[in-house]
Amino acid sequence: MSDYTIVGKRMPRVDSRAKVMGKAKFTADIKLPGMLVGKIKRSPYAHARILNIDTSKAIALPGVKSVVTGKDTEGVKWGVFAYTRDQEFIQTQKVRYIGDEVAGVAAVDEETALKALDLIDVEYEELPPVFDPMEAMVSETELIHEDFPNNVNIHVNIDTGQVDENFKKAYYIREDTYVAPEESYFQAEPYAIVARFDHEDCLEVWMPNGGPHMKSKPLSNAFKIPLHKVKVRKIAIGGAFGGRSEICPVDYICALLAKKTKRPVRIEFTREENTIATRQGHAMITTHKTGVDKEGRVLARETTCYMDGGAYSSTGPIATSVPFLSMEQVYRMESVRYNGYRVYTNKPIRGMIRTHGRGFACGLDIQLDMIADHLGIDPVEIRLRNCRKPGEYTSTKSYVDSCAMDETIHKAVEKSGFKEKWGKLPPFHGIGIGTNSVQTGFPMGIRGGSQSFIKFNEDGEATVMSGVVDNGQGNDNMLVQIAAEELGLLPEDIHLVSADTETTSSDPGSYSQVSTFVGGQAVMNAAKNCKEKLFEVAAKVLKVKPDTLAAKNRLIFVKDDPEKSIPIKKVVRISLLNFNSVNAEGGYWPKVDMKREWVKNPYGQMCEAFSFGTTIIEVKVDPDTGLVEVLEATAAQDVGYGINPLVLEGQFEGSIAMGGQGGMLTEYHEWEGGRCINPTMLDYKLPLACDMPPKINNIIVESIDPKGPYGAKEAAMSIAMSAAQGYSAAVSNAIGVYMDSFPLTPDKILAAIKKKKAQDEKEAPVKK
């Protein structure tokens, strides 16, 4: 196998020492001289016209340094795409959800800022709100955005193969509808931002982000200042899960307050604000119609999904597509029609979340289990018959190179004892399987590639510059491991400068699971180029050809004669004495179809690699309480190559928690009109240590992707998604009812058990 020294090893993360000592600085920990406290005035109405805003009393309050409203924004609107720019940073005309931004305040302390918020008088004219996407499409009341008829924000239509003809050929057809409400990220760290304009009028900002360059460009646009004048700084980030990717109004408001006051401003979100006013996951109503042949192979599928998009577009076109794309990647479906409708409602904004469309994916998998049941096939077999194989194209024309989908199924089945347990477990015990696939990247145009710079210092250590951001998943360590491996150094010899827009080149960030594949590969290429320079100098000293050399453990040595060596530090110094600095750059740009567009042209190469995952869950359901006890979870994913198994395991386990344990059993939002009534950790049930399965089996499957660095691709997202499917399948299996409404809370489980019991008694009244 490989003879790598640093990659592929269980290496403790480089950032963990500062974190266990409490020294790692997060945004809310930043204190700058003269810093003010910022607060946001939010709409109390779900839908209302703004008639007038009077800030005079607030501005007169001693200690208040600035109050900004929509009048100060020059009408700047935000949207990820040119055709989705529908969100003003501060509303000028109307408010569209409870929590919409109407004003910002900067004051000397929090108490004063909060008092000032109360002193801002906003005169509203209430408008009829709409909270249900199905109602929103037929509502006669004022549109939420006047240029979007029927409140339909996005419609994605994909149609390939011969769907109607193949339905006619099908041996068995099922049509089922699945629903799931909104879920939230609940990152450990509530959102926070610090902004200041420095002595050169550069905007300097710190905030949790999914990619610093994705924050700097919209800020540069909004303030009409050159990109180099926006400096997004590196800071420790307390989780993202898709919820930190875009710019959000508070970024602009905080920077605007800093500009007006000429002082640094810090805004910290409350937990409630983090839930309501960042992003949430979409609620979805999904209908899958599937036609199969006698062996259970899918001949035709038609899926229609209605997504509650909330008040603004956000990443709408992407969020409307990804649930479908994950399914078309994991399962072959040559003839498929997809209609995804993202509908505006007067609820908080929905964006990307780790488990893209839990109701969508779980529905499709549950239906597959129902079909298998009808045909007398087991759930494993029907998946093996339909799952993706390497060398195939997805229905939207992406070539799938590396793919060990069936290996993940086989290994998870073996480890979990699925075959021995299936159909043989005692009553109210169940086992279920879920499979999924996730993109390693999206087509991101100019921001799709990454470039890295490396410089050697005279002590033989190296500084690596990369735009990749670490949200907590371990990206910093990944970059250090790759650089150390390629340069022949030890991890402690690498100084990483990352996630800072002043010093690093454009990069997609952690967005679309692409950090290792693109950003890691850019570092790898830069390091290779740097090593070449070292080898040229070393070759002259050792009197050999450069291509006979290798680097490891701070030494450059002759591959066939390792005794013949020279320390890297010495090579660097010789180079410097000969007036040559030792530095290099390297980049990576994935070859995706740049013409592919989410709505207008959803066909073509999506990304260069896909991950594939299988999760098997075993549960016990208490028929009296409806509570689910998870006995064991087995997660197997094709990650391409495991750069750090220790980190990967942690990612798998976290995915089981968020996708399965929370995502399928307890996590959802409840509403009273447009008001979210469980925005805090007290009411929104996140999994705790005592809730988790006592045993999680992690299986890292390596398919060695030909284009990934060392063969690596996306890691653990297809566990997060397949975990949801595994949980829903296991509970369904335990209670003998195929569930169609998620998450599977005790009330739903008890109702299903009761209904089944009544049905069984009706059908077989004399049964013993």
Partner: protein, 173 residues
């Protein structure tokens, strides 16, 4: 509100600080004393990110008034290590990959440290129960539980400890 001076004993050092009667201990630690290791993630005593020790017991500093802490011994995450020398528990967190984003880590460490002082070799269930007041969104808790269990019951064949203490041997050393 008018501020008054109090003296707090924090990490074995007396600290004079001006507080308002309604200031929480967390606010005073973070804003007045620059001890920002303790985190504010919910402000209502649910998430456990602000957990500190008061006379050896784990306490939510966001629900504790600074005034209540007068006359007690306070320990924060900054006081766990002995200078640059990490405690066994801190090292175990690193070795076992128990740290991801790190935001919950300080509170998690303080709860675990208090548990280990009461019960030096807790079993899996006891650990999970003791950590049930600390929410982690990244790890799924498995590696955190491993790290705590290992601190209480070190095993010679633990692959994570073996790799971390001397991960990469340098030739000639």
């Amino acid at each position: 509100m008018e501020k008054i001076q109090i003296t707090l004993n924090i990490n074995d050092k007396p600290c004079d600080v001006m507080v308002s009667p309604n200031d929480t201990l967390l606010e005073v630690l973070r804003d007045e004393l620059d001890l920002t290791g303790s985190k504010d993630a919910c402000s209502e005593g649910i998430c456990g990110s602000c957990t500190i020790h008061m006379d050896g017991k784990p306490v939510r500093s966001c629900l504790t008034l600074a005034m209540e802490a007068v006359g007690t011994k306070i320990k924060t995450v900054e006081g766990l290590a002995n200078g640059d020398e990490l405690s066994d528990l801190q090292q175990s967190f690193i070795d076992h990959g128990a740290v991801q984003c790190g935001f919950c880590t300080p509170g998690m460490l303080m709860s675990a440290d208090a548990l280990l002082k009461e019960n030096p070799s807790p079993d899996d269930k006891t650990i999970r129960k003791a950590l049930a007041g600390n929410i982690c969104r990244c790890t799924g808790y498995a590696k955190i539980v491993d790290a705590v269990a290992h601190t209480g019951n070190p095993q010679d064949n633990c692959p994570d400890c073996l790799t971390s203490s001397k991960p990469y041997k340098i030739q000639g050393e």
